[in-house]
Every structure is written in C-alpha cells, then in structure tokens.
Symmetry: C2
Subunit: 350 residues, 2 copies
C-alpha cells in the first residue's frame, strides 16, 4: 500500500468545487488508502460534504479560508493579493513540509505563478514546465511543455528534456527512455533556431539522455518516443488539437451508430469492445498536468473535470511523490553540474 503520503488540496479550485473535489478525494481514497489530505477552503461548504462520507473522516483535515482564486484572475494580481486563498495556502503547505504535494483544479496561470513564487524553481532550471501523459499506439508518452512558457530558448528546451527524461525513468519506470524534440521535419536544417540549437546540445552535449532526434506531430500519438519536448505555445496547441480530434472522432462514431437500425444492432454486439477503446482514450484518465522543475510537487487538474478525473490528478501527485521524482531530478542536476564545471548549468548557449 505504500508509506503514508500527505497531499494538500485546493478544495475551492475548478468549475465544480468543492463538490467534485471532495468526491474526487473519496474516489482516490478507495484506490490509495495510505494517502492523507489537507483540504484548504471554506469549511462551511467542505464540512457538510465530508459528513456524507464518514470513511474520509480519518484521512482528511480541513484548513478554513474563505478567500479563493477565481478562474479568470490574472496571475500577477493573485501574487499580490492572494496569500490567504485556498490555492496559495495549499501550495504553501508543500513549502512548509506539511504536505508532500499539492493538487488544484483552479486557474492554471495563477497556480503556476504561485507555485513558482512559493516553491521556487530547482537549481539549474530556469523555468518550470507543464507535463502531461498521452495514450499512444505503443503505450504512454509524456509531453512537455504544455503551456507554461510561450517563448522558449534552447536552454529551456534542453532543461525540459532532462526533466521529462527523469520523469520517464523515475515515475514510468523506463530504463532508458527515448527523448524527441517536436519539429516540422526530421532533417537537421528543419525548424526554428531554438529547436536546432537544442538538438545540437542534446545530440553532442554528453548528456545522459537517449536522444532520438526530431519528431513530428504524428509521432506523439504513434508513441515514437517516450518523451516529447516542445515549447509551451506549440505544446498547448498540439495537446488541444489532439483532444479536439479525439472528440470529433468520438462524436462521429456516435452519430454513425445512431444512423440506422443495423448500426444500432452492430453497436450492441460490439459494445464491450468499444467500451475498451473509450476507457483507454478517456481524457479523464490522463487528467493531472505535472508542474516539473519546482522545489515541490504540484499537479493541476482540468478545471472542468469530474470526480473520476480529479481522483486521477491526485494519483499523479502521489506517483510523483512515491517515486521520489523531485529527489531524482535534484540529484541528476547536481550530477550534471559537477560533471562539467566549464558548463556550470545545463545551457545550450554558453
């Protein structure tokens, strides 16, 4: 069952908070009975929900605050005035050592800003990145950055590659994960300056990484590599394009099966097999974007998810904690720095 782990929860973040948050904790508790929770938010709204689930009594404690971050709040404004919000206090619990990781379904920009401010970035990392898991034809692939950094230089991309590679080893348990840089072609001359320079460092920089080279958009779902590295602008658009295409396909299939009596009969026969496809590609199963490169574990749940999705995001945070992701990445970065003193940090430019 694993060692006890405490996760702090922003109980007021997300479109349907605190209801689905508490429901998510309840689902997570079934799968992960060794996890304890500190719930930050309005106790007048949280306590009645907890009362309905006596099994949560022993694993949840509530820290009351009425202040919360709205979904449209600007990150800068939250940094100035949000110190008593449920989000801030939940992140702060990780900084103070009360919790090993934090999960919030609130405003992404604000959560990233607060996490950076409170947890700081790891030494050797200029900017944290948002990473997520994708189902692929071969299994699962991790992709980063999914939107934290709009403009990335080659240093950032190289650091993302390291963070993703350690994740794939530490959390996914892959021995020698392959890393690809997202580009518009596989030839050396393709792409912008940032990806070309990053490729040079990843290929020839003596980094302990199995660098595959450039990959293209279709390689994400094909599972060509274990880790796909890109800037936050492209990564966010690729992620949402994939989600949109999946939704388009599902809705088309639904229409097709409703199209005729024959198709409806066919659906009944194939139902079990089709449900497997749906389960395997259910976006809720992949809910939980990881903020990598920070001094603590922070996971962002989709704001509109349900309890099943929120429970998955909790599972992602627990995975990162249980596999010691942050200790691993810290050690790797220290090792790299001692390994090459002429290159005091992982940098492409100098």
């Amino acid at each position: 069952m694993g060692k006890p782990v405490t996760i702090s929860i922003d109980a007021m973040g997300g479109d349907h908070a605190p209801d689905i948050v508490i429901d998510g904790v309840r689902l997570a508790h079934v799968r992960l009975p060794h996890v304890r929770y500190i719930l930050f938010g309005d106790s007048a709204r949280i306590e009645p929900l907890l009362t309905r689930h006596p099994e949560l009594k022993g694993v949840c404690s509530v820290r009351h605050t009425t202040d919360m971050v709205t979904m449209d709040a600007k990150p800068g404004q939250v940094l100035r005035t949000g110190r008593n919000s449920s989000m801030w206090l939940a992140v702060d619990a990780v900084a103070k050592g009360d919790a090993a990781g934090v999960v919030s379904a609130g405003n992404t920009g604000a959560l990233m800003a607060v996490s950076k401010f409170v947890l700081r970035t790891l030494p050797g990392i200029d900017r944290p990145a948002i990473a997520g898991m994708f189902p692929t034809e071969r299994g699962e692939t991790v992709m980063l950055d999914l939107g934290a950094n709009v403009d990335c230089d080659s240093d950032n991309l190289v650091q993302f590659a390291l963070m993703g590679e350690v994740f794939a080893r530490a959390v996914l348990g892959l021995e020698k994960p392959s890393v690809g840089l997202l580009n518009i072609g596989s030839e050396d001359m393709k792409g912008n300056d940032a990806v070309r320079s990053a490729a040079l460092v990843l290929r020839d920089g003596n980094l302990p990484i199995r660098f595959h080279g450039f990959v293209e958009g279709n390689d994400i779902c094909a599972g060509t590599v274990d880790v796909v590295v890109t800037d936050g602008f492209t990564g966010n658009i690729a992620l949402k394009t994939a989600e949109g295409t999946a939704k388009f396909f599902s809705s088309f299939m639904r229409q097709a099966f409703n199209n005729s009596v024959l198709a409806k009969i066919g659906f009944l026969f194939a139902k079990q097999a089709l449900n497997k496809v749906r389960m395997r590609t259910d976006p809720r199963r992949y809910n939980g974007a990881m903020f990598l490169g920070l001094g603590g574990i922070a996971v962002k749940s989709h704001g509109g998810t349900d309890a099943f999705g929120f429970a998955n995001a909790i599972g992602v945070a627990v995975d990162l904690v249980s596999h010691g992701y942050n200790e691993r990445i810290r050690k790797e970065l220290e090792h790299l720095q001692s390994f090459d003193q002429t290159q005091p940090r992982v940098a492409a430019g100098s």
Copy 2:
C-alpha cells in the same frame, strides 16, 4: 462542366511517380472532363502509362525532360541547378500562361522555393503560405500556414488571414467567413507578441474581415471558425498531430472490432455506417495543400498519396482556377492599398 482549364503536372514528383500521377489524372478526368493536362517528365516512362488509357489521349500532352527533383533535395540547390526538372518546367508553364495551375507531389520545400522564384509573390504579400482543408464537426475549415514559414511576424499573420478569408469566400462560397487566430487561450493577454499584435490589427484595423478572435487547438476540429490562421511551425505540428490522432483512433477501432467474435459480428452490422465515417475522414479527400499568395495557382499533393488522393489535389487546383482565386485576392489587396494610402501595405507594425 465549366470552361476548359489547363493544369500542368509534375509527373515525376512523389514517392510513386509517375504511375500514381497518371492514374490520378485518369481519375480526375472522369470527374472533370473539361480539364486538359500538360505532363512534365520522362516521356519514356509516361507514354507507356498513357497508352493504357486511350481516353487520356485527347486531354494530355507530354513535355519530355529527364531531369527531376529528388524528395531530399535542398531547396537552394534546386534553385541553382533544377531549371530543367519536371517540377520547375511544370511551374514555369503557369508563369508562361500555358497552364492555369500546377500540381506536384514532389519535395515541398523545393516546390515552394521554385514557385516563389518563378511565380513571384503577389503585391502586398511578403510570404506565401501553405493552406489546407480540414473536416470538422460543422463542415470544413481552411487552415494556414501549414509549414512554409517557420518564423512569422504579425504582418505575415495578418496577410495569411486575408488570403484565407478570400479563399473561403471565393472557393468555398461562404458569404462572410469567420477568421480565428490560433493561440493558447482566448484572452487578449495570451500568446506571443506576433499573435497579440496581429489580433490588434485584425480587430481594429478596419479590414473587411469577420475576425472571431483567438481560437485554441480543439477549435480546429470543432469548426469554431471557417479560417484558422497560424505560423507555419505551429500549423504544421497541429496538422500532423490531428492526422496522428485520427490514425491512432482508427487503428484502435480496428483492433477493437477484431477483438472478439461478438465485436466482429457487430462490425458486420455497422459496416455501412462505419464506412461513412471512414469516407468523411479519409485523409486522401483532403489531399492538396494550396500555396496561397503567389502570382499563380500551385498545389502540393502529399508525396505518398495514391491515385485517388492525387486526383483530389488536381480538383483543388481546378477549384482555385475556376473560382478565380488569384484575381479575387489581387483585387482585395489593391482595394486595401487604395483604401488606406497611409498604410501602403497590410502591415501590423507601421
């Protein structure tokens, strides 16, 4: 049936040239009997293929050349040494007025370089863009740029918006098409400098465009707007991510239907309905990337397509010619220039 149209064909371009090229012409001829073809390439290889299809005798003429552009040739090298290649001569036929448009399944970078050099860009357009059609939940959407320009400033994006909007009116017959800029969120502050400045011009620049604002990756397949505008790096990755996701889904469905006897029976019942989905999302139906912003019509077919796909690319070129796309875009650009003499070209910066 329409007025006679002549299309020049790079008969040696693509993975399976000239066989699938000639086969594609044959398929296109069935649908478009009013179109004539000039086939550029090795007559020793083309003539035997034509002999098998006597119906093509009256609509095809062959211009012999043994020189051809390989799939891995560098664009600069082709510009220096490729003047007698089937690709160059096919493009040149448009510049000379022998053909109204050119179709090639050859090397994309080389085709763009040769087309720019031979056909020139239109006055008011700094860089041509590659545009393509997507099936969406609402119908069809055009997206550009799909990979011609890796780095785009706001001027380029505004020009792409104009080119796409005129395409949607002239070729798709939409009265007032909506235009969206691809970004990582819908709020004004989101994205990089280029998209933010371009949005300002499109929103307040008095351009005759129905500007929807920012759209996200999932809006492409949802069909939120008729025209999606983006830089060539992001556009290429979004296109290939969508293709990859569609492929992943199809292969998953195939596996599911082969999974059990029940599922196989279900497939037989639902076959007709499922075939409709497959037809509607068949990538060959969307084959034919348009090079917009040039002094002539040029269409790039996928290098690995079959005859059905190549015939579609021919159809795209004929559509652009028949609807007078280039005359329309020329007029719009002239109109914009006379409309505001203080802003002699469509520029976001000045």
